[in-house]
């Protein structure tokens, strides 16, 4: 069985990048870049890419686009500066970004740069004020009590928030308490959620995109968390839980010791000690 399924799985994995390369640079930008970047629409998490080819040479840009972590790893000063400007958030490697596509993307950005920002370039997040219903819905979505409509996993399975009590929430992904500010508020975070760019989030949500109303609810929750709490709050109760566990275990041992209090220790040693005490 195993050997029969393996080639098929292998084929699917290999095929995935080709699906994306077949896209137009415009579509690719929309799906993979617009979460963090605009072209003439102002800064989000990442810089506005208008006139990017004028700020830096194409060779550097292409190298950086293909593998940003590698360039950062080399401690390239310009890349590090970009990271600082983005509040320390590094640009993730974008799957399927081939050298040819990178060149096409740069051409696309140059071409778009002159024109007014296209309306579709910035995913629209409703402008209205958050309501308490939004917050309640966001909490339900985050905690998984209401499933995401496209079947994505609930946030809580990997993330936690400072506003959640106890040890609730996952520790696999980053703490999301201050994510609202980190990703540049409503527009930035909203765009990010529309097309999550990091490899893990992308692989998880690629087939299960978040819907605009869900994003709105989650943003409401993130805003609330960033205003009311701080990341340390999510871990504040760990010592209480730990000491409670240790105390509980100790109590359990004491209880077992009491229930089996007449159990045999070593009879011989007891006899020996008693006799030695008597002699002394």
């Amino acid at each position: 069985m195993k050997s029969r399924f393996f080639p098929m799985a292998f084929f699917l994995v290999c095929a995935a990048p080709f699906c994306t390369t077949a896209q137009q640079p415009g579509n690719f930008f929309q799906q993979n870049c617009s979460a963090c970047h605009t072209i003439g629409g102002g800064r989000r998490v990442g810089p506005d890419l208008k006139d990017v080819t004028k700020r830096k040479d194409r060779a550097w840009l292409e190298e950086f686009m293909e593998d940003p972590p590698a360039v950062l790893h080399k401690r390239d000063p310009y890349a590090l500066q970009l990271q600082r400007e983005a509040n320390g958030i590094a640009m993730p490697a974008v799957p399927g970004l081939t050298p040819a596509l990178a060149e096409a993307l740069l051409n696309y950005i140059d071409a778009q740069g002159g024109a007014a920002p296209p309306p579709a370039a910035a995913p629209s997040v409703a402008e209205r004020l958050f309501t308490s219903e939004d917050l309640a819905a966001g909490t339900e979505l985050f905690q998984g009590t209401r499933p995401l409509s496209q079947g994505g996993p609930a946030c809580i399975s990997c993330h936690t928030l400072g506003t959640m009590t106890g040890l609730a929430g996952g520790r696999l992904g980053p703490d999301l308490t201050l994510v609202y500010q980190r990703l540049g508020g409503r527009q930035g975070a909203g765009a990010w959620l529309t097309a999550p760019p990091t490899p893990v989030m992308q692989s998880v949500f690629h087939q299960h995109t978040l819907q605009p109303d869900e994003i709105l609810s989650l943003l409401s929750l993130f805003e609330d968390a960033s205003q009311r709490s701080h990341p340390a709050a999510a871990t504040a109760e760990i010592p209480i839980f730990l000491s409670g566990g240790v105390l509980g275990a100790a109590l359990g041992l004491v209880l077992m010791g009491w229930i089996w209090r007449s159990r045999i220790g070593s009879v011989r040693r007891t006899v020996l000690k008693a006799a030695q005490r008597g002699a002394a």
Binding site: R263, S266, R268
Partner: protein
């Protein structure tokens, strides 16, 4: 009346010299396998002493045997609910330290040691961990009072002895002792059988030998805790419990068990008793002081026609009834009443009986002559170095009347024979003693013969086992006979 037959035993402690030949014979045949290193199905203890495992007689610690609670007989160590509650941790389990950590010696070192200034030594190695160990105890650590005063003074049977009696026993440089060889008692009311959650233990119908079915045993070890004599052992290698099997393969072929056969002092007797199985529970619930009489009343007279008829009805073969009529055990226990069960207060109705030992008397010296005579005929029984109360704690459930009776009779027999053969005691005094000990001259002769002049066949009256009758309910005996000795034999091992 539900008559059954039981192969039972008498150990004549007055003849035991404490040589441990029995233990070695047993060890070599049965417990030299892996996992059984620490087991001694037969062991010889020095009394006073704590025995093996240490202090096994202290049931306040080990919770072995039965107790009567609200008029009902129940195990001390466990019950139906407790068995489930404690099944993975039995609080009454002796530890390895209470037995001893079995060891061997690093003999190879004697051959392989590099040349040095000193002779190489063979250091002790644990047979459990394989590490070098410091030996702290052994199965016979207080043999010949070697561990005293630590061990001897911890003997649970010293309970109730007056300070004078203790002084008598422990007088400096005059410490006295006797030997107490022990095997499984193959009890009529075995606590081990009652405690087994798997139903692996059983008492054989035809001869009363208590056995562990190695295929059904799951190693819960409830029997180890329940047996008050601590004669159930857990084999860590096979994960099953084991016990003395009274050498049933030998007994079935008409041979005495190995420990009996090899006994140097010829202290061991074996023969069939007929008993009434329908009254066991009732009699085992009696007050402790009545238990010896109660057990004697269980044992039936094999000459009584009514008993013989009931025995036949229960399928006991005529040859077994004839064997019971010649049984030396019946003579010692029921007719002469000089053999007593060990710790009958555990209520398991042990079917191994002991003739209590005589011991020296304290003499006193006056004007250069030693005085140890008295006008009182049995003064040396009352004044014996091993106090009656001590013996009574072992053989009389604390009641010294039975022990006194047995010792007086033994003493009377000695004086009777002394009057006959040596002549330094006058016949009239000897007769007076016999009378006082409730012993006729004929009985005295019989006791003397079976004690001193007994042949192999006098000591071991082994009944024909008639295995063919015992197994015919399960299989065709002829087919069994034709197939025996051909096929596969596999030893017990861990798992189902």
């Amino acid at each position: 009346m539900d008559v059954r037959s039981q192969v039972s035993m008498v150990f004549h402690l007055d003849k035991c010299i404490g040589c441990h030949t029995c233990s070695i014979a047993c060890k070599n045949i049965w417990t030299d396998r892996r996992g059984t290193e620490y087991m001694w199905w037969n062991n010889v203890e020095t009394k006073p002493g704590t025995g093996f495992p240490t202090d096994w007689e202290d049931q306040e610690k080990y919770h072995g045997g039965w107790e009567v609670k609200n008029g009902k007989l129940g195990l001390r160590s466990t019950g139906k609910a407790q068995t489930i509650f404690n099944i993975y941790h039995n609080p009454s389990m002796p530890t390895m330290d209470d037995y001893y950590e079995p060891w061997t010696y690093d003999y190879q070192h004697l051959f392989n040691a590099p040349e040095g200034k000193d002779q190489p030594t063979a250091r002790p190695i644990s047979m459990v961990t394989g590490e070098l160990i410091q030996i702290e105890a052994g199965p016979n650590w207080d043999d010949d009072l070697g561990g005293s005063p630590v061990y001897a003074e911890s003997d649970p049977n010293l309970k109730g002895l007056t300070p004078d009696q203790r002084a008598q026993l422990f007088a400096v440089e005059r410490l006295v002792m006797f030997y107490f060889p022990r095997i499984c008692n193959h009890c009529l009311n075995p606590a081990c059988v009652a405690s087994c959650p798997s139903g692996a233990l059983y008492k054989r119908g035809e001869d009363g030998i208590v056995l562990v079915d190695q295929e059904r045993c799951r190693g819960w070890r409830m029997c180890v805790a329940a047996c008050p004599y601590k004669k159930m052992f857990y084999n860590w290698n096979t994960g099953k419990s084991e016990k003395c099997i009274l050498c049933f393969p030998r007994v079935e072929t008409g041979q005495a068990p190995a420990c009996f056969h090899s006994c140097v002092g010829r202290i061991r007797y074996l023969g069939v008793l007929l008993y009434d199985a329908s009254r066991i529970e009732e009699l085992a619930s009696r007050p402790a002081a009545e238990l010896i009489e109660a057990q004697r009343s269980l044992i039936l007279d094999p000459h009584d026609p009514e008993v013989i008829a009931a025995a036949r009805q229960n399928g006991i073969h005529d040859s077994v009834i004839a064997s019971a009529q010649r049984s030396p055990v019946y003579q010692f226990v029921k007719v002469w009443k000089i053999a007593l069960p060990p710790h009958i207060e555990y209520r398991t109705m042990p079917m191994l009986f002991y003739v209590p030992p005589m011991s020296p008397v304290m003499s006193h010296q006056a004007n250069g002559t030693i005085h140890n005579a008295s006008d009182e005929l049995f003064h040396d029984i009352e004044a014996s170095r091993v106090p009656l109360q001590f013996l009574a704690n072992i053989f009389g459930a604390g009641n010294d009347a039975f022990v006194r009776y047995a010792l007086r009779k033994q003493k009377a027999v000695r004086w009777h024979r002394r009057a006959l053969t040596v002549g330094d005691v006058d016949k009239a005094t000897a007769d007076r003693m016999l009378q006082a000990a409730q012993c006729s001259p004929e009985e005295a002769e019989a006791i003397y013969r079976l004690t001193s002049l007994c042949t192999f066949d006098d000591r071991f009256v082994i009944p024909p086992m008639h295995r063919e009758e015992a197994i015919q309910m399960l299989e065709d005996p002829l087919e069994r006979k034709q197939a025996a000795g051909f096929g596969f034999v596999s030893g017990p091992r861990r798992g189902l």
